[in-house]
């Protein structure tokens, strides 16, 4: 007869994986789940003359009635258009560097440099560059293109595109380094085979290189989508303060104003929940589209 294991040992075996998972789970609950629940709870509260009251979804209604909320959401939406542009640029530069153009190591360092600079440093620098009498316009006037000079950050028309360019300038370095690292790990034989088969530069990279970079491109796009929705506060705060008017106000900035300047934690929390939901929705959508295209290609 086989020897029976003691029951305590069996229980321990069953519990063992959960015990390994416990520290990480507790950490996630503490730093993510708990704050999210708290924010959701706060979004249902309002300060009234007789104290803090639960008011159901009133804060969400008030938020939806506030035109500034829609302006902020729209501005975040406009910033999303930077992601494809930034991705294409980063890919193009990464492939150029991969081709080992002369001095590529120096270029790689230079392109990555803005990414390691603090956002307020980048923002403040561009305030001086993009002023009506800033360096950019001075250069334009010097080369006889003064008609192109604009108040890049002071004009309601140009402010969001200008902020987008600054974000692209800083974030692109991350994409270049990411794509280049993946390119370096590709098997050279495949590319050589494509060349032998007569593929030109465009065909080689479009049909051979890009499909192999799909995973890392997807990662970069997701990260940048999140950035455009929930990590642009520092750019806006240092460059425009959300102005002129509300022309460059984004969701984060509006949340910050409500939470700290306007003393309305309920509204700020409702806005935060909406932002979290929007971000989550876009990421899930993006991942689903990616999965579908993968399934179709298989």
């Amino acid at each position: 007869m086989p020897e029976k294991k003691p029951p305590t040992k069996n229980v321990f075996r069953k519990l063992e994986p959960y015990l390994y998972l416990a520290p990480a789970t507790i950490l996630v609950v503490l730093v993510f789940i708990y704050p999210v629940i708290q924010i959701m709870r706060t979004s249902l509260l309002q300060n009234t003359a007789s104290g803090i009251k639960t008011i159901g979804l009133t804060n969400y209604r008030l938020v939806s009635e506030d035109p500034v909320f829609w302006t902020a959401l729209k501005n975040n939406g406009k910033l999303l258009f930077s992601v494809p542009l930034m991705t294409v640029l980063a890919l193009f530069i990464a492939i150029l560097l991969f081709e080992h153009v002369r001095g590529w190591l120096v270029y790689r360092g230079l392109i990555f440099l803005p990414y390691i600079l603090a956002i307020p440093v980048v923002g403040t620098t561009f305030v001086y560059l993009l002023g009506l009498n800033g360096i950019v316009n001075t250069l334009l006037r010097t080369v006889g293109a003064g008609f192109l000079a604009q108040d890049w950050l002071g004009s309601a028309t140009w402010v969001v595109p200008s902020i987008s360019l600054v974000i692209i300038y800083r974030e692109m370095g991350f994409g270049v380094v990411l794509f280049l690292a993946r390119l370096m790990s590709l098997e050279k034989e495949i590319l050589e085979a494509a060349e032998i088969d007569g593929a030109n530069w465009r065909q080689k990279h479009f049909f051979v290189t890009l499909p192999q970079l799909a995973g890392v491109i997807e990662f970069f796009v997701v990260v940048e989508l999140i950035t455009m929705l929930s990590w642009v506060f520092a750019y806006v705060f240092t460059m425009t303060g959300g102005g002129p008017g509300f022309a460059s106000t984004v969701m984060e900035f509006y949340i910050w104003k409500h939470a700290f300047a306007f003393r309305s934690p309920g509204i700020a929390s409702a806005l935060a929940v909406v932002l979290l939901a929007t971000t989550t929705f876009l990421i899930i959508l993006q991942l689903r589209l990616r999965r579908r295209s993968l399934e179709e290609s298989i």
Binding site: A49, V68, L132, G154, A261, F262
Partner: protein, 452 residues
Amino acid sequence: MRKPLYRLFAILLVSALLLAACAQAAVTQAPQEVKTEAPKEEPISLTFWYWAESDAPGADAWMKETVEAYKKIKPNVAVEVVPQSTDTLISAFQAAATAKSGPDIASQWATGPVMGFVWQDALVPVSDYVPAAELDNWLNLNENKYNDKYWAASMYLIGIDVMYNKDLFAKAGVTAPESGRWTWDEFIAACDKLKAADITPWAIGDKDGYGGAWWFANYGIQSLDSTDDLRQAIIGAKPFTDEHYTGWYKDLDEMVKKGYFNQDVMSLDLSQGVRLFWEGKAAMAFGTDGMIKQALTDLGEDKVGVMKTPKKGTGKLADVGNATQSISFFITKWCKNPQAAADFLTFMHTPERLASWYKHTGVIAADKRFDRSLVTSPVLKQMMEWETTGPQVWLENFLPGQIDSDADLTGGQMIFSQSGTPDDVAALWQRAAETWRNQHPDELTNWQNWQQ
């Protein structure tokens, strides 16, 4: 014969015991006395979240000197000064008020912002700790009066009037008003002349929104009859879209369209805009006492004059002064030694400290004991006269923070950047007030009950 001796001995013994008892009592009392004095010598630590440098350059150096001077007379009191940033002045203290923990003394812009924290029960009234005779010397305390108590201390007075460049006026053939104030039409005529002479009439920066806010406080005020008049629109009893409240934006819009301002208004902060005046690149600009003092240094004592904001409105507030204490210092509810905090605020008002304040900053102190002979420049004397004569209202102080941010600051930006019409801005004020009322029923109740 022995009996009386015994008696005498007994009396002496009792007396000795009584004396001993008294002595014992005296001995035991002595440490008690020491005990009552001991808390005075106990080390007291005060944290002061301090903001003033942006208004009055030199204020930080003065505060450092003041803390050192206080240490000499109160060695047991250590004051730690934590300078505050303009951008986070409200939000940082809001976080402290929410946590009911933080500084012992803090700074906040007068009236609206201070009242916001009074209603959150984050302050104790300074008038509970500073004797009335002392408070009687402090100026502009009414800016923070609520329920018959003074909730914050004033330190200095800032008036904002128009400084002008005499040389540029002469070049364009413009004569400054003898009365110290132009009518609006006279002002526009002067701007036309300056513009024709290729001189920028007015220097301003509005990237931070404060350029527009200064126009509101100096020009927008002129059609109002009282601060309560403004409060009526804030609480929704009257519409902000009424000409009475926002009609003045048409004049500002006209000025922008006619090119009376420097072109890069939206690229410059308020202070950067004023720099253009200091550099002689514009004929006029709004200026505080400190800014005017800088202009006198940069352009020359005899090259700068001051006048009141041109008059157009006919409201009762059209002629009041606009001096404000700007920043107010108050004692927090959670301060463990409110009396020690009040004593330090009182020390800041000693005549020697007031004189030193002016030496450091060039801004007059908000105190009757301030030695007015320290102000020697005729231009600054004129400013002081305006700032300390008659009623004073800085209208921006009477706006809830959210309306100030989302309508006052933003509305000016819309006009200066030409991204909105005066009607759009009027609608913005109305909408911002409605949004504030809907989102802040607690604040609305306080504003409805606030008898100004």
